[in-house]
């Protein structure tokens, strides 16, 4: 059975995560698109912390008999992997877009310098 203190600590930690993410979005320092996975992480962890019977049931499905809160760690780790993988795809896309922009700038500057003499750079 999950110790009550572990449930309370888990609930507080997930609530803080949710509040921080909402505050970042509110202050426009985090885009909704990238906040969604973090919010999902917070909500799932909160539900699993508060819903003690549920956590115990899931733990027994997974064969975790000695210490059910270990499932919280496992779920949190899984979500962190998801977030990081998501970021890797985002970075890859940004890299491609960046290179595309650099190439366009090089091509446009060359065309511009043909149409009129280049401005003196200091």
């Amino acid at each position: 059975m999950t110790p009550i203190r572990a449930s309370i600590a888990g609930a507080i930690a997930s609530l803080i995560l949710i509040l921080v993410v909402v505050e970042l979005v509110r202050g426009r320092r985090l885009k909704e698109r990238y906040a969604l996975l973090w919010l999902a992480t917070g909500v799932v962890l909160l539900v699993l912390s508060v819903w003690r019977d549920g956590l115990n049931t899931i733990a027994s499905w997974l064969g975790v008999t000695s210490y059910p809160p270990a499932v919280l760690f496992a779920v949190a780790t899984l979500f962190i992997f998801l977030v990081l993988l998501h970021y890797s795809t985002v970075i890859s896309r940004l890299t491609d877009e960046n290179v595309d922009l650099a190439q366009r700038i090089a091509l446009l500057e060359e065309r511009l310098s043909r149409e009129r003499p280049p401005p003196r750079e200091s």
């Binding site: 890299t95 650099a102 190439q103 700038i105 090089a106 091509l107 500057e109 060359e110």
Partner: protein
């Protein structure tokens, strides 16, 4: 008169680029020489422009593949019929260009690669490890692409409009040659290889250091496997 563009990627090659441009123009003054300056910190751009090249200057370093692709985009947008690609360090000999351009001009190939290994007595003997690497990649590309390739790491090549249009859209960003060869073959380009001589570097240092070799090998292997799983549009229609 077919318009030919020479694409020359260069990164901090101020010491060699002037000679490279001169040599190409001496071979054929009608060729447009496009030097793609990959954000050099020396005066590569100025030297190239002074020697009569058109200079495409990237705002920050994007790597050899991204630089070369800029040249292909230029060739595509400006309507060139044939593009050749030479390295900016002077290791590719411009007087060998006719061997590359010839088959493209007559239409017997879409992409011609200057290989150091077509002729076994060719004289080029790289260090053992590099020779093995080149051979393994060549085998792999031959296997995955279904056409025999002997030197996939060579950047010395010529191509027609179909090749230009393919590479303007589809070109790997770092260590591009091996993967680009496979992409070309899988897209249905007819590949041909000719024996060429290459020089030792005239100035600067090779971008392939020992430390990067491992990344090079792993990256290229992964890229080849992924490229062989992807589908590429067949380019039959683009050909004359």
């Amino acid at each position: 008169m077919t318009r030919v563009v020479a694409i020359v990627p260069a990164w901090n090659e101020a010491g060699a680029i002037g000679g490279v441009v001169d040599e190409i123009l001496a071979f054929d003054p009608a060729i447009t020489v496009v030097v793609v300056d990959d954000a050099s910190s020396d005066d590569t751009s100025d030297v190239a422009a002074h020697h009569g090249a058109t200079v495409l200057r990237l705002p920050f370093n994007v790597g050899i593949g991204g630089a070369v692709q800029t040249g292909f985009r230029y060739a595509r947008d400006e309507g060139y019929a044939i593009a050749v690609r030479l390295d900016g360090d002077g290791q590719h000999v411009a007087s060998e260009l006719e061997k590359l351009v010839g088959p493209v001009r007559t239409g017997s190939a879409d992409l011609v690669i200057g290989s150091r290994f077509v002729d076994p007595g060719g004289g080029y003997r790289p260090p053992f490890a590099r020779r093995m690497g080149i051979r393994v990649f060549a085998r792999l590309v031959s296997l995955l692409g279904g056409q025999k390739v002997t030197d996939t790491t060579s950047g010395f090549s010529a191509m027609n409009r179909a090749g230009i249009e393919l590479f303007a859209v589809e070109y790997p960003h770092d260590y591009p040659e091996v993967e680009a060869t496979l992409v070309a073959v899988r897209s249905g380009l007819r590949l041909s290889q000719v024996q060429v001589e290459m020089r030792e570097r005239q100035a600067g240092t090779s971008s392939i250091t020992f430390v990067r070799s491992l990344y090079y090998i792993v990256k290229v292997m992964l890229a080849l496997l992924v490229a062989s799983l992807r589908r590429y549009p067949r380019l039959e229609a683009a050909r004359r």
